[in-house]
């Protein structure tokens, strides 16, 4: 496993999470100790062990490809912070 150092600023950018400098500092210290604890997993030899993604493995669960009822537009929009004309309003993306 990697060293127990996190570049909090970089990871926060990946997570799209604005942090104050104090939060960065505090998170860095706390995560360092949590990662230090997690290091104990290195003691285990897992070669040849299959990973478990779900404890009850069910694969290829499909449904019939049929049109069915879905959320009405007004319901989908009713919790939006900004909306108009049946659309979500967002900042300009393309210049």
């Amino acid at each position: 496993m990697a060293s127990a150092e996190i570049d909090v600023k970089y990871v926060a950018h990946l997570a799209r999470l604005a942090l104050t400098p104090e939060e960065e500092k505090q998170l860095g210290a706390q995560l360092g100790s949590i990662l230090g604890y997690i290091e104990k997993l290195r003691e285990l030899d897992v070669s040849g062990v299959e990973p478990t993604a779900h404890a009850v493995p069910m694969v290829n669960v499909t449904r019939a490809d049929k049109v069915r009822e879905s959320l009405a537009t007004e319901d989908a929009l009713r919790n939006a912070p900004r909306q108009a004309n049946g659309l979500f309003i967002v900042p300009k993306i393309v210049e």
């Binding site: 999470l17 995560l31 897992v46 478990t52 779900h54």
Partner: protein, 484 residues
């Protein structure tokens, strides 16, 4: 008082027309008015809506309807969607969100006639073990209001313990039903992964989350499990196993059943009074004719570390949806990325941020295999430990928590210590088995509840409930009430 009744007691009285659903609902609302200022189990509730549902139930009862939960007031953790009710996950980031549909579990409760009311407090996005991480303030333990009720479903446990509802729903990702049930002295069941549909449950860690009931006795737990279980086309991880009549299994006869005691759970840090109560419960089981077998779960010591990799990784992906675009609160920005970052920075609390950062890190390029994939492999070892143990025993007996309820503020400054308080409950979710916590005694001073955890085979809820119920029949712990 009607609010103190169990589901089975209340439905019997309703059927005989001794009481009305309105009276039962009003009794719960009166109790909330009387004690919730001290407990703060509820974030909000709509009394008029609850009473309107009660009146509708009374009409159905008068017309001879026999739905299994007709007229029973059940309160809901603030992480499950109830149509037209608020849904906040105890977070600021959801703003004034109201649900546009019912979760499948809620739909089933309503179909069975339940009065679904109230939004119960919790740790933000179910991340925590004390309900101190709520944006809506602390919930207090009804047995001692200087102490935490456990978490993340602290409101659900406290509301049942304080008789503010007949039963409640919570969710359990690493112990969030069983741990607060233990600390508040009620019965909390985490069903097998896939037993109850997760549709309409706001996801924290999708491979671990499961909905379950908080109740005043084991019979009620069986009733609610039966009402909510079953495959659901809207949750592709729900499992098409038959749903047995769980109540019918509660015959009190566990003679010859084998109960496993994992030697790895007798750790340092286990409180002496908790250990004594669990030892006494094991003796009680011997008297009931069960055979006690020592077993080994050799990877127990790795469960907390494995959990905090897998759960945070899944959380970092699941919580990406809270970006200020489609719902909830928004902090404007000059471009979408700035808007996302500012909204999330302002909307999430400290523990959620901590887990998103940790989860993003363990999934990031260069670290994925070392952390996430490695943890998924250890998860296989943990699961195999349990499957091997269940070849020899019908259920596993452990304490639910290493100590009784701790003081508010005692662990909130040290995330790792808080995580380690889940040491006995976390493996169950990783292994995908079922588990229940039932009251098994009290500490002396102050008087605080102690929980006994029983762990069962995947889809072995029938046996699990039978074993829990047999103990309950010969003890009176679950009947004790806090003085509030």
């Amino acid at each position: 008082m009607l609010n103190q009744l169990t589901i089975s007691e209340l439905t019997a009285k309703l059927a005989k027309r001794e009481v009305s659903a309105r009276e039962a609902t009003q009794a719960c609302l009166d109790q909330i008015a009387r004690v919730d200022g001290k407990i703060h189990a509820f974030i909000s509730y709509n009394a008029a809506d609850a009473l309107a549902q009660a009146d509708a139930a009374d009409k159905l009862i008068a017309s001879g309807a026999k739905n299994s939960l007709l007229g029973v007031p059940i309160a809901i953790k603030d992480v499950l969607a109830v149509k037209n009710q608020p849904l906040n996950c105890a977070s600021k980031i959801l703003g004034n969100f109201t649900s546009t549909y019912d979760a499948t579990a809620i739909e089933k409760l309503k179909a069975a006639g339940a009065i679904v009311f109230g939004r119960l407090n919790m740790d933000e996005f179910a991340m925590g073990s004390s309900t101190e991480n709520s944006a809506f303030g602390l919930t207090r333990n009804p047995w001692d209001t200087t102490r935490i009720p456990g978490g993340s479903s602290g409101g659900s446990a406290a509301a049942v313990a304080a008789d503010e509802c007949i039963a409640s729903l919570g969710t359990d990702t690493g112990g969030s039903i069983r741990q607060p049930a233990a600390l508040c002295g009620c019965v909390g069941l985490k069903p097998t992964y896939g037993r109850i549909s997760r549709y309409g449950l706001v996801a924290f860690a999708s491979s671990l989350d499961q909905i379950g009931p908080f109740t005043k006795d084991v019979r009620d737990s069986a009733i609610l499990l039966g009402a909510m279980s079953g495959v659901d086309p809207r949750d592709s991880t729900s499992v098409p196993e038959i749903v047995p009549n769980y109540s019918a299994a509660l015959d009190g006869n566990i003679r010859g059943m084998k109960l496993g005691l994992p030697k790895e759970y007798m750790i340092g840090g286990l409180d002496a009074e908790v250990k004594a109560a669990v030892d006494a419960a094991v003796k009680q089981y011997e008297k009931l004719g069960a055979e006690i077998v020592e077993i080994s779960l050799p990877h127990t010591d790795y469960a907390v570390a494995t959990y905090y990799i897998i759960a945070t990784a899944e959380a970092s992906a699941n919580l990406a949806r809270f970006d200020g675009i489609r719902y909830g609160a928004r902090v404007e920005g000059n471009d979408p990325v700035e808007l996302y970052a500012k909204t999330r920075g302002a909307g999430f609390g400290a523990e959620v941020k901590r887990r998103i950062i940790l989860g993003t890190y363990v999934l990031s390029s260069g670290y994925h295999d070392a952390y996430y994939l490695h943890a998924q492999k250890v998860r296989t070892l943990i699961r195999n430990d349990f499957l091997k143990a269940f070849e020899k025993v019908d259920a596993i007996v452990t304490p639910t928590t290493p100590t009784a309820a701790f003081k508010a503020g005692e662990k909130s400054g040290d995330p790792l210590q808080m995580y380690l308080s889940d040491i006995f409950t976390i493996s169950c979710n990783l292994a995908g088995i079922c588990g229940i916590s039932i009251p098994c005694g009290f500490t002396k001073t102050p008087k605080l509840p102690i929980g006994l955890q029983l762990l069962g085979k995947p889809f072995g809820e029938e046996s699990l409930l039978k074993i829990a119920h047999a103990y309950e029949q010969v003890t009176g712990w679950h009947k004790e009430k806090p003085a509030i």
